[in-house]
Symmetry: D2
Subunit: 335 residues, 4 copies
């Protein structure tokens, strides 16, 4: 068993991490922390009653470094890099669920803020196993991808050689509310979401440059990504609909099946996918269709699992030499 810690246990992704780690056969949770600490993890997450009863510490990096081999940071960006830096200097492996190590320095500072850990940023690996599995295995610092980039990139990746770069790619995303976090705001009030749908940050969401950069690094092509996310009246799940032009007509299902033939967390469907069939799991489900040279890619993930916490555990598995799928959820929350 390897001792692991979770910093930032109070939010939805923190809860999902705990839910997975509780039954993980090789990871032992021995440190849970939030910015303020609390008597018991059950104060934060009553649903864990009977499964886990530990105190929640106020973050103390020295203490965690002396007791944990690997730490999950489920924190806001900017806070995260401060802790990551210290942990890495003390020899602790880090899976960072924030945006802090996802982007090249220039991209990061343009879209977020100035970076205080440029040193480690250089060596951070982008934690999308289908892109960087071998690098993840050797890394001490994995930057867990954003939920939108995860589902977008996994849909686009098999087609990068076929897409006509002279035209834009439009991505219309639909997300369950859990992705917006536990904080109560006017737009997460039940009454604002129920019987409603709305776009936010059209053409200006920070996941847009993340998608662009990762596709560039992989393919050498600078695609013109145009991203519009929506909140839908559902708690979890996320759908990505991507629209673009091809250089020539192809059979998209064959392309997908060939590209992902060895991937166990990618499922290719021959009809449109839905979010319910993969909610609760680490799967990314993909369908695609062409009409002439127009390509439609339809991909879904659970935004707080494959889009966050279960992908984080898969990354941790790889970093520790375990099978990628160890303890990672595969049984959907259907019906």
């Amino acid at each position: 068993m390897i001792d692991v810690g979770v910093i930032g246990a109070s939010g939805f992704t923190g809860l999902e991490l705990l839910k997975i780690l509780i039954t993980h056969p090789k990871f032992n949770i021995n440190y849970i922390a939030t910015s303020e600490g609390t008597n018991s993890v059950l104060d934060l997450h009553p649903s864990l009653c009977g499964l886990l009863d530990m105190s929640v510490k106020k973050v103390d990096i020295k203490e965690i470094a002396s007791s944990s081999k690997l730490v999950f940071l489920a924190l806001p960006h900017k806070t995260s890099m401060k802790f990551a830096k210290e942990l890495l200097e003390l020899g602790v492996k880090v899976v960072d669920l924030s945006a802090d190590y996802r982007l090249k320095l220039e991209t990061y500072e343009k879209h977020y803020c100035s970076h205080i850990d440029k040193e480690h940023l250089k060596d951070a690996v982008y934690g999308l196993p289908e892109m960087y599995r071998e690098d993840i295995k050797k890394s001490s610092l994995v930057a867990n991808p954003g939920c939108y980039p995860t589902a977008s990139i996994l849909g686009l990746l098999p087609f990068v050689d076929f897409i006509d770069e002279n035209f834009p790619i439009f991505i219309d995303a639909k997300s369950g509310v859990a992705g917006a976090g536990k904080k109560c705001t006017e737009s997460t009030h039940y009454v604002s979401i129920n019987e409603n749908i709305f776009a936010y940050a059209p053409f200006s969401h920070r996941h847009e440059p993340e998608i662009t950069e990762k596709l560039y690094l992989k393919s050498g092509k600078m695609f013109d990504i145009n991203f519009v996310p929506h909140l839908i009246p559902a708690t979890r799940g996320e759908m990505i609909d991507s629209y673009m032009l091809l250089k020539e007509e192809i059979n998209p299902i064959l392309v997908l099946k060939e590209y992902y033939k060895d991937e166990k967390f990618i499922r290719i469907f021959e009809k449109p996918v839905d979010i319910k069939s993969c909610s609760g799991t680490n799967f990314c489900d993909i369908f695609a269709k062409v009409k002439g040279k127009k390509l439609y890619i339809n991909s879904t993930v659970d935004n707080i699992l494959r889009g966050s916490s279960s992908q984080a555990v898969a990354n941790a598995n790889l970093m520790c030499g375990f099978d990628e799928g160890l303890g990672v959820p595969t049984i959907a929350y259907v019906p």
Copy 2:
């Protein structure tokens, strides 16, 4: 008061027609029919208790023609044209909510079935007041537009001169479930819709040629429309997100405001629209944004009102010489 009839009163659009007509200051419901008839309209719609209590007839065209000046047909396509033909021949005005008179003969027969009333089809007017108001006023047969075409066309219309026709237009639509009708199927089961979203008929929905044809008739340009509809976990409301390339950069809000400056059922917003703010009304709400030459249009309607029944009543108002907005709902179902 003008006596009107409703054939096909059992479904959701039939119910919405009745709800509007009950309080309409100039239309008097004096004939309600379904394919089978029933003792009271309250058997079909208990919520009308205390407001309307009439028997529901088994359709009898002669009887209805002798008692009503105008008839709303809230029927499936193919059934509708049979009744419309007879009613028109007996001098009754018709607002047809089905697809039967929406398209040119060739388009119709390609996407639906063979047409049995080619005679009247030639003279039918497409019931989108913002496009054909003057024609509607003079018509005896108005084909009420589909819900998706209504919101799509109203969003696109102001931009037809600016759009680059060499690039496709992608339309990503999201619809509440009432648009799928009252019939219980696997895909309208609560459990299939709740906590879910899925696309259906991507690039092959029958509203795609309707949008293409109407834009062509208005602009003389044959846009390449590519349409992907989704069902979302909401009862009513519909959002259209359209993505395309412009010939040159423009200020889309100014274009919208100028184009619709005299329209009282179009509202232009400077931030993304939501479905809740127009659900329950005949409004079409529109927002748009550009990034360079990429244009994003974001429009919403109530799919069973502006997308069907309230637009039908607005058309009937015009056909009878009344103000377009007479008795048409404008107060949204918020919160």
Copy 3:
């Protein structure tokens, strides 16, 4: 036309008041205020775009008294009585939607706080028209009932002579989230409500003594009311299920029909009622059933209309000599 004002226009009940008053044939909104004021009512309620565009004042009692004959107070208790007192002293009629004038002094101070307007409290009329219609007509200060008491009392009232007072009455209530107000809290977060249901304040909600007191004042009997409210995953609507023992077996539908035979906002159904059929209206729908001497009463209202704003307008109508139903909504938000 009578000029009226709305103080507390930012919340859900304030919005519902505006929605009704906009189309009311006899009331003219000429003053809208909140604690802070804002440039336009559209900042608070974008859905009113095209319908109402007035500035929202920072409350100024003198100003409102000089311009309005009647004022609706949609404010929290304690704040409300301060304004009501001043308005009444300046000769303005008041419909207070808060709890401040609903209860006898002793009951109020036990369950809320000390009362600062004992003078007017004595003369306040409880605004349930089915109980106090004639008094409301003559009153300058009407205390609009709570949503739970409205539906509970209307269900129980016809049975007060038949109920066995030696046994408790259990009331199990289910409420849509809009009743909890616009404020974002952990329990109104979408994720807390969606796919969930929970009781709150069991046997200790402040509407319990309101029900007890009003039944006592009407019947002279002190029933033992035991009230447990729940939040359900719906925006609006409220169901009350009451369980009790009868002194002897009765036909409850006949009792209901006889008792309410002249009431146009009460509908008696012979099968269980649902919240959707009356949401959007001022109706209270009631069903009841017995098994031996056990009585089950099943009543529904729209919690922010009949349970608040539309009942407030009905009361204002009565206070101004108009028909109770003038401008009051009766068409439900079905489907």
Copy 4:
């Protein structure tokens, strides 16, 4: 590994059985059947893609008996007993999820239909482990309890000695829609459930006599159970609110904690429970409160897990000599 079969795999409880059995460490699914059979289980449940791919047989009792030691019957009542009878005669253990073996003959025939397997009915054990654990261990035929009785009885059981039998017990139940099954009907249409709540079969649901009988068999007391179930707009989960009179005042939390101190699938909470915290698990969560001699019991289960399939697996574990919790889900579907 013990080979097991599932007959009736197409519905929601069939799906839940498969989801649990796929990862169960001791049961091996080697036979899946429906009334008609189909090529692959993925035709029925696409979400199992990548996890299970077996053909679905048309039921053949001989074939299943030769290959499975234990069979789960997820079938409608009446159909179930026909298969159970044959399986038992061939020496196969049966967990029956229908009502066929839950009740004494007289009770069964009064509320359902005539029984065709009186022989085995006599020996069937009611599969509520907290009541009959030792009997289940020795049984070949376990009748899995109904969802409502499971949560109702588990809430009431600790209090049977304290309840005043001279007064009725009122049970107000709220159920997610999955409990109504996969069949599409008017009342399971999304539009009927969304933004709605309604009671059905008040005082006449068939789970009422099941609760009465089981409490009588355990306590020797014939309680007067009065049961009113509701459908709520949620897919899964169920809440039971029970109201009754006590003989004397007690501390209900202490009673619950003492009674269930050795039970690992019962969790006692000191504030009202919600359905989300136990959805996805086999837990029954319970809270209770008194006011004088009035007792309120508030219990929740996942209606298709503890109320059906996970309880069935727990029973199968006991029947095969395994630990009751082996492979049974405990991690909730929160957030």
